[in-house]
């Protein structure tokens, strides 16, 4: 048996399943006879996004004719014979169970399709991806002080400032709205611009109207499961002049990106932001409230 792991996530467990029987033997043969099609486990792109497929034998094949290393990486763009590696990766992907209960961690069918469409381009495509992959789900039922009547399911992504900060062009072309909605558009996105409701007055009502028009919801107006990821965000206003957004993270604090400056999780006093309604926001004195983003939200 061979354990297959699609190395793609940072926070979430990677999709994984077991290949057994004749298919496992066939793949073992390919790997052992075509070493140029595989790369070392630690070779290739190690950043965010797709990093290849890892094959690990979990049965003892040492008494067979196959010479299989402890683990190898395929489809990662660094094998000596990359076309062969890609072809092997495509074959391995085809073995992903269609019945999710048969996988250790299921491979999302959309993600599988994306990888299948062009494994050679996946690494670059995912590096260019407009969203930061990886989130978990929690219940949002208000806080201890003001519990709500309804409970919505929301997602919280891990705090990943490098996604916004490492590339100077990305950092300078994306603002707080890009960060809050987790959409790297490189357009210094404006609430309402994608949905034809822009510009808006720089008031709570004006900016809220733009965001709702783009597809956001007020907090506790729940989105269905199909709209994952549904992030909790907060809007504040510098009255008459500007607006600013925050997004809640898995770690419990809030992240934000003031204009073209780096994404971070601290306020103007250098403190970790645990509550955007009370943190030091400088001249952004008006707290407008909380909202949910969703998958179908338009941002530009």
């Amino acid at each position: 048996m061979i354990k297959v792991t699609v190395d793609i996530f940072s926070g979430l467990p990677n999709p994984s399943w077991i290949i057994s029987g004749d298919r496992a033997v066939e793949i073992m043969k390919t790997v052992s006879t075509r070493s140029e099609a595989v790369a070392d486990l630690d070779a290739g792109f190690q950043g965010l996004g797709y990093r290849g497929i890892i094959l690990e034998p979990i049965s003892d094949y040492s008494d067979r004719e196959h010479d299989f290393p402890a683990a190898v990486r395929i489809g990662s763009g660094v094998a000596a014979d990359e076309p062969a590696s890609m072809e092997l990766a495509a074959r391995v992907l085809d073995t992903a169970p269609t019945d999710e209960t048969e996988a250790i961690v299921p491979l999302d069918k959309d993600l599988k399709k994306l990888i299948q469409q062009g494994i050679t381009e996946v690494s670059d495509a995912l590096k260019r991806t407009t969203v930061d992959l990886g989130y978990d789900t929690e219940s949002d039922s208000g806080d201890i002080v003001a519990p709500a009547d309804v409970t919505c399911q929301i997602e919280r992504g891990r705090f990943n400032p490098d996604f916004w900060n490492l590339d100077t062009q990305v950092r300078q072309s994306n603002n707080c709205y890009n960060y809050a909605t987790n959409r790297k558009t490189n357009t210094f996105a404006q609430p309402g611009q994608a949905s034809g409701r822009w510009p808006n007055p720089t008031t709570c009502d004006g900016v809220t109207g733009g965001a709702l028009s783009d597809g956001a919801h007020h907090r506790f107006e729940c989105f269905p499961e199909t709209e994952k990821p549904r992030y909790l965000i907060a809007l504040v206003i510098r009255p008459g002049q500007d607006y600013h957004w925050y997004r809640k993270h898995r770690e419990g604090f809030w992240g934000h990106k003031p204009g073209h400056t780096p994404a971070k999780n601290t306020d103007n006093s250098g403190r970790i932001i645990t509550d955007p309604s009370t943190c030091d926001r400088g001249p952004y004195t008006d707290f407008c409230g909380y909202f949910y983003t969703c998958k179908s939200m338009k941002v530009r």
């Binding site: 603002n175 707080c176 709205y177 210094f188 404006q190 609430p191 720089t202 900016v207 510098r238 008459g240 002049q241 500007d242 607006y243 600013h244 957004w245 990106k257 003031p258 204009g259 073209h260 400056t261 780096p262 971070k264 306020d267 103007n268 926001r281 400088g282 001249p283 952004y284």
Partner: protein
């Protein structure tokens, strides 16, 4: 030369260009500044973060951009950043004045009073 008043988070910052004469004066002002030993980084807070000068042409030895804030000038060339002292925030005040017609009155007044950038020459 392009000047950006770095102050907003969601909206785009106010921007304007220096005239030929203003660019010449900027070069003179920049050349008069002395180096400054500091590890301070340009601000990344909400609110006013200084003036950013880009498209520097022949101002200084090939700088990519310059940030002027609260008495310090960060002049970046590639991965190297030179720090210069802007005593009395003279360069910063001068840059702000060049943008008078491009900055909303309310914001301009706030910068003068709350950020201490009132025109000291008057």
């Amino acid at each position: 030369m392009k000047i950006q008043l770095d102050v907003f988070s969601g909206l785009s910052n106010p921007c304007w260009e220096l005239s030929f004469e203003q660019a010449a004066e900027f070069r003179q002002l920049l050349q008069s500044l002395s180096e400054f030993a500091s590890f301070k980084l340009p601000p990344d807070k909400l609110g006013y973060r200084g003036m950013i000068v880009t498209e520097l042409e022949d101002a200084g030895p090939g700088y990519d951009d310059i940030v002027v804030y609260s008495g310090i000038v960060w002049a970046r060339r590639g991965s190297v950043t030179l720090r210069l002292s802007d005593k009395g925030r003279l360069l910063e005040r001068w840059l702000l004045r060049t943008g008078r017609q491009w900055i909303a009155t309310e914001l301009y007044c706030e910068l003068e009073t709350e950020e201490g950038l009132e025109d000291s020459s008057m």
